[in-house]
């Protein structure tokens, strides 16, 4: 009969919560800002990031690399959020308190992009990440990222024209 062993090492509960809290402090700011740009909503971003942290804490002992795991989990949740938004089709308010002329058109066009195009553009222009790192975060092949960004930019240009 086949046997399978799930490997892992158990750490003390206090130690686990302390390690988690340290990671939380380090990651929360960047994750919320990125998720806000991805979802177009600071409220949705907080919800998404909260859920991802809860999930990470639950799997703390299984996850070998919590930082990248958290990033992927947040991005996946943003993707789900985008699917729900696509159904609702509501216009997302601009996140900027003092918008400059033209901001709103670009913001709306950005939020209207298909999720993968938008995510690739945000990771490229907000985080200045290289294509291979974007590919890891979005779970696609490195060669796919370039076309996504190009198609995203082309759609934005059309919207601005």
């Amino acid at each position: 009969m086949a046997t399978m062993i799930v490997e892992g090492s158990r750490v003390g509960d206090d130690e686990r919560r302390a390690a988690f809290t340290a990671l939380y402090r380090r990651e929360v700011d960047g994750q919320v800002r990125r998720a806000a740009l991805m979802t177009g909503s600071a409220e949705a971003a907080h919800d998404v990031v909260h859920d991802a942290f809860v999930e990470l804490l639950r799997r703390w002992d299984e996850v070998r690399d919590p930082g990248p795991y958290l990033s992927r989990s947040v991005l996946n949740r943003c993707r789900d959020q985008a699917r729900r938004e696509a159904t609702a089709r509501r216009k997302l308010p601009l996140l900027l308190p003092d918008p400059e002329p033209g901001d709103e058109v670009l913001w709306d066009a950005l939020q209207a992009l298909p999720f993968n195009h938008r995510a690739a553009v945000v990771l490229r222009y907000y985080h200045q990440l290289p294509q291979d790192e974007i590919a890891i975060l979005l779970g696609c092949r490195p060669g796919t990222v370039g076309p996504w960004i190009q198609r995203g930019l082309r759609t934005l240009r059309k919207a601005l024209a």
């Binding site: 086949a2 399978m4 402090r25 971003a45 601009l94 060669g143 930019l153």
Partner: protein, 488 residues
């Protein structure tokens, strides 16, 4: 080149990102903490092990690897008959099982979901000696671990030899009687008399193939128990499943002299890629990393990991030293770069179309009726599905190809979704930015086009006659070359 749009995006995103008011609340997260997940040693949990085996047997029946009725024990030890669950495995149709999930799987659970919604995950792969096909079973797993559907995808297995293949360099364990287990990172391979099994999933996969070797040795039963459930590493996302095993693809690369060539990707780590080479592999240095070079019946194969982490394999008629020199100068390029370079090829060098593309039963027949296939122009029909993992990557390839073909007014692309729901198709169109025609296949169309594996690409000429069929993933370059080679 920096453009106005580049600057505007950088500026807008920086200001919008900075304007977000972040409200950290670690306590709120900790309040939902249910304590550490228990570490389970399945050897102490015979009930759970039985459940997994029951699940594996049911998966086998569902995907048609085992055609006959199989009796298995369920969790409560009640024997049930899980004969082929539906007509979906009848005849030559090897997929799908969507909507025909065996009742015995209704309360099964798979720990393969990171809670981010429905994921598609590889349940296991089986390679049958004497064939050139690896069959991989995928399950659509919902957030609570329920299996929503199962589908089998067949892929060419050029990187897999039968049980007589020599062990590759790597962590090899000889189990005696001709059984060997090779652990290559997340991948575990079992080679034995008459069987080859690949399992993905780290240490659990290694344990699994060892147990399967014992089982095969004592019972001789094959491959009934070989397809088992191996949870993927946690955090795995939908588009990067372990299913890349055997899903070999041609990828465009640029050599040091600026010429374009194709290399293989998706074969796996260098040790795995070199497995089919047969000769003795020699470690070499390529760039900052290590690679392997091995002779291969008149050819040379070089395998290495590119700086971006992509495993690459180059097969060439050149000798070892020359091949190494080429490999050291290879740079993987994206589809956009290829498009910019590729049209420079002289027009008189029309590519040869592989014979396998023109021997499919559909070739030479009028294309079955389908909206979008209208004659007057070549049509590339891409049969696909939202529940098929390789198809998702295929859809990414089609975007740039569609742009190219449309710009040159050469052919149109139609994506045909197979056994899909309107909601799933709409969501995918939105997510992937699909801006070419799509059709949802009716039952009659499904039978007429008869896809045996997804994705499938059908080339239809201007008179509506099928000229070529490619099963499995196809690159943008292959679509372009096949069109040109078929005389479009």
């Amino acid at each position: 080149m920096t453009t106005d749009l580049d600057d505007r995006l950088t500026d807008l995103l920086a200001r919008a990102g900075a304007a977000v008011e972040v409200r950290p609340d670690a306590e709120a997260v900790l309040a939902e903490d249910a304590g550490p997940a228990p570490i389970v040693d399945l050897r102490d949990h015979p009930r759970r092990t039985r459940r997994r085996l029951a699940l594996a047997a049911a998966v086998l029946v569902a995907v048609g690897v085992v055609g006959a009725a199989t009796t298995i024990a369920t969790r409560d030890d009640r024997p049930v008959d899980v004969a082929a669950p539906s007509t979906t495995t009848a005849g030559e149709r090897r997929f799908p099982v969507l909507g025909h999930l065996p009742a015995e799987l209704a309360d099964a659970r798979i720990d393969a979901n990171d809670g981010a919604g429905v994921v598609q995950t590889a349940l296991g792969s089986v390679f049958t000696p004497g064939t050139d096909v690896v069959r991989t079973a995928y399950g659509l797993v919902t957030e609570d671990g329920t299996i929503a559907s199962i589908v089998q995808v067949a892929a060419a297995a050029e990187s897999v030899e039968d049980g007589a293949a020599p062990p590759p360099p790597g962590d090899v364990e000889d189990l005696g009687d001709g059984y060997r287990v090779m652990i290559l990172g997340q991948e575990s391979w079992l080679y034995g008399p008459g069987i080859t099994v690949a399992a993905v999933g780290g240490p659990a996969a290694g344990e699994l193939v060892r147990a399967l070797a014992d089982e095969h040795r004592t019972t001789g039963a094959a491959p009934a128990a070989l397809l088992s459930v191996v949870p993927p590493p946690s955090g795995l996302t939908l588009l990067a499943p372990p299913a890349t095993l055997g899903a070999q693809a041609e990828t465009v690369a640029r050599a040091a002299d600026g010429s374009m060539l194709t290399v293989e990707t998706g074969v796996g780590r260098p040790e795995l890629a070199i497995m089919s080479a047969g000769g003795t592999a020699r470690p070499v240095t390529i760039g900052d990393g290590e690679g392997l070079v091995a002779p291969q019946t008149g050819l040379t194969r070089v395998a290495w990991t590119d700086p971006s982490g992509v495993d690459v394999s180059l097969v060439t008629e050149l000798g070892e030293e020359e091949a190494l020199a080429v490999a050291r100068g290879v740079e993987l390029v994206d589809e956009a770069t290829w498009r910019a370079t590729y049209p420079e090829r002289p027009a008189d060098e029309l590519p040869q179309v592989p014979a396998s593309i023109t021997t499919h039963p559909l070739v030479g027949q009028p294309a079955p009726e389908l909206a979008g296939v209208e004659g007057g122009r070549w049509t590339v029909v891409s049969l696909t599905a939202s529940w098929c993992v390789p198809c998702l990557a295929q859809l990414d390839v089609l975007g740039p190809v569609q742009d190219l073909l449309q710009e040159e007014d050469r052919a149109r692309i139609v994506s045909v979704f197979v056994e899909d729901t309107p909601e799933a198709v709409d969501a995918l169109i939105a997510e992937k930015g699909i801006d070419w025609p799509t059709v949802r296949a009716t039952e009659e169309q499904l039978v007429a086009w008869g896809p045996y594996g997804l994705p499938m690409t059908v080339f239809v000429d201007a008179d509506g006659i099928v000229r070529g069929v490619v099963e499995g993933e196809i690159s943008g370059r292959q679509i372009d070359e096949t069109l040109a080679g078929l005389g479009e």
